[in-house]
Symmetry: C2
Subunit: 457 residues, 2 copies
């Protein structure tokens, strides 16, 4: 039977696929809240049953947290593929901002087409079901699952994945495949299908500067006693030069220039940074002044203050010289930048610029380096062609400014690259009230996976 | 009868004076907490009765908040003196840190002598009673009150004095005197009697810098979108130069150098800044590098960050680019510095240095200029001699780094200077648990007022 038959089957069965997604969306699998522990187990069990129904040897695997869902299927040739998604969802607060029950999914007509609304519709239940529905149609048409597949669904992605690395280590032999497929990303600029081939890494530092042994009155001590908020402001202000470059010595070690082919492709994307920034009330690219907006987002490292606090922050005024000042700073990393070296360079900078009478305490966190997939693997071009065929416009290899830790873990613990392909849109309101997923994205997402499976197996 | 008789009477009656103070301390007159409203009235009534008992024509005057106590006495010659104190006290939280009932005063033996412990013992019930006890002894010995006196006791000093200015305006004719006496300050360096002759003013600014229309993810936007915390850090860091001077244009307009006689006196105080800073865990004067420690504290203006916040400040990490950054900044003012001009210069500085896409909002607060008393009034030298005689060491004219607003209000609304004389010590723990007042300070404080009244009336 042909791919066209599988695609036709997908089209025909779409109402049933939507109904199955609705069933899954009704289970409030909020992983971070212990009150929903049994719901997480229920979602895992539902997925196990669904996978078994289409021929996977599936089971829920216990962890100290929520279970992992693992399923093996197919015994054909071609690449062994591991598919990753997560069945847990974010909390729904503030509930009063939802226009309908977060766990009572609704199909809605909107000016931009039909959407399915509910917590997890896009992140990640809708996305993971695109892959399962593609497998279902394939099985229905061909009688077997395509190639050789492992499905691996996590239940703790929205709560920091505490069980993930131990589970990967303990089950490496079973999980190892030729390539991972991850469906937890989006389209490019809401229209263009995309494969994420590079992700920035992350180094974080939380630190506290201390001076006097207690808060002081600024009348009685001001002018004589050192103020740690002033020290903090000066330290943080010194992290960038006037051109927006980070000043830490050695910070740019390991940062490579964009390869010409990637640069040419990104230029072809015609990224509309004015619209991208305009959506959030901004207009001017604020990064390194000699870089393009997409470089700023995807291929250049950053240093950002994510949290800053000290002194009196309540209503009214209290003329206090606080004893402490606190900040959380993070660095997005690219190329071969080493998170440990970046943290060490930051420590050195702070210590070297700390005035008399001040002490500093740093947290013990770690970081993750940037990920760059080996796009020379022909699978990437094959998948790109499959996506281009489905969406009617050339799919792009893009970067991702954020970190998707599981992609790095697959590389570190299982030795395999990942193709990150997803169909969400920027306006899906993931993690926010009124999350939705476009039914068109769901439908074309299923069809996209069928094409990719045909190309890779 | 002679001053010596009055002093002897004070010595003889000390136990009864302490007992009266204990009675007053048992009334929990916490002005900021509506639950203690009737207790504030009770304290006012007790003081009215006590003043009447020694010959004052006293009454409690209603205000929208707690009553003012006003009393007139004496019809002798010399200066008409207005004495100011406050009968309200700070809250007692955290109660668990008190070693005894805050409103069950105790006489305790300590290594440094006897103290009376309880909320308000030092601030300000113990201090205000030093003056009343001096009047009582004077009356007992002489049959009349000294000179011509007005006593004016406030019940809202610890809750922002909301009724004070309207009351001063409405009762200016009745309150106006030749000189105000304020007993709400301390000894110098815990040993040397002192008259505060200059107080720094205060200008405050609370402001918010806004950029994006919502919080952004630092992965998805970092490097491209402007971060208001970075803007805030840079703005705050730019407020001082490398020598500790404030950079705002015109900031030092109206700042005068210390007169030579005051400078000489301050040098004579041999201020031990190492001990002063050492008490709070510091060692190095952190202000303008070419100024003495006492200048930094008393006669030089400052700019301090009192509160700073933005982004994620909870446990763990959230890689957010916040939409807003907030700060509270205050300026201690000296000489003729104009609080409104200082605020305007700050506004100009922020606006001139605000990057594209950022907006700023400032609060509507006001400020108060510095106060400099006319020490050429012979009353100051007379009082200094009286204090020196009592304490056995030369009393000092000192500055005060903080603001005591009532002193400025007396100048503004009643056109009179104030002599600020008090007997508290740095370790009295005012506003904190286990507040105390040294019995020796209480006793010598009463005797000090008797000497001052003898000198001035």
């Amino acid at each position: 039977m042909s791919l066209q038959d599988v695609l036709a089957r997908i089209d025909r069965d779409l109402p049933e696929a939507v109904a199955r997604l609705e069933t899954l969306l009704r289970i409030p699998s909020i992983s971070t809240d212990p009150a929903y522990r049994s719901d997480c187990a229920k979602a895992a069990d539902w997925l196990v049953e669904d996978l078994r129904g289409i021929g996977f040897d599936a089971s829920a695997r216990p962890t100290p947290g929520h279970p992992m869902v693992m399923g093996h299927g197919g015994n054909g040739g071609g690449r062994h593929l591991l598919f990753y998604g997560h069945y847990d969802v974010q909390p729904v607060d503030p509930l009063e901002l939802w226009h309908s029950d977060p766990f009572g999914p609704q199909i809605e007509d909107t000016p931009r087409g039909k959407v399915i609304r509910g917590r997890g519709a896009s992140d990640d239940k809708g996305q993971l079901m695109t892959f399962i529905e593609a497998c279902r149609a394939w099985k229905a048409v061909n009688g077997t699952l395509p190639g050789r597949l492992t499905i691996f669904l996590e239940g703790e992605e929205e709560s920091g994945s505490p069980s993930l690395i131990p589970f990967l280590k303990d089950n490496a032999a079973e999980l190892k495949a030729d390539l991972a497929l991850i469906c937890d990303t989006g389209l490019f600029a809401d229209r263009v299908p995309a494969i994420v081939t590079q992700l920035r890494g992350l180094a974080k530092v939380e630190f506290t500067i201390r001076a006097a042994s207690r808060d002081l009155h600024s009348g009685g001590y001001g002018g004589l006693a050192i103020n740690p908020l002033r020290v903090m402001a000066r330290l943080l202000a010194g992290l960038h030069d006037d051109k927006g470059r980070v000043t830490l010595p050695g910070f740019y070690d390991g940062v490579t220039e964009l390869p010409e082919d990637i640069r040419a492709q990104w230029q072809g994307l015609a990224f509309d940074h004015a619209a991208f920034l305009g959506d959030v009330g901004l207009s001017v690219p604020a990064g390194e002044q000699d870089r393009t907006p997409l470089e700023m987002l995807w291929s250049r490292p950053t240093c950002e203050i994510n949290g800053l606090w000290g002194g009196y922050t309540g209503a009214g005024f209290k003329t206090v010289l606080p004893a402490e000042a606190h900040a959380k700073v993070s660095f997005r990393l690219v190329g071969q930048q080493d998170p440990a070296k970046i943290r060490a360079a930051f420590f050195d900078y702070v210590r070297a610029n700390l005035p008399a009478d001040c002490t500093v305490e740093f947290d013990q966190s770690t970081g993750s380096p940037a990920s760059h997939m080996a796009v020379t693997d022909p699978a990437f071009e094959l998948a790109r062609k499959a996506l281009s065929d489905e969406w009617g416009m050339p799919a792009a290899f893009i970067g991702e400014g954020g970190s998707i830790p599981v992609a790095g873990y697959f590389k570190t613990y299982l030795g395999m690259d990942a193709m990150l392909i997803g169909f969400s849109k920027d306006d899906d309101q993931i993690h926010s009230p009124n999350e939705k997923y476009d039914l068109d994205c769901f439908h074309k997402g299923i069809r996209s996976w069928a094409r990719i499976l045909a190309a890779l197996t």
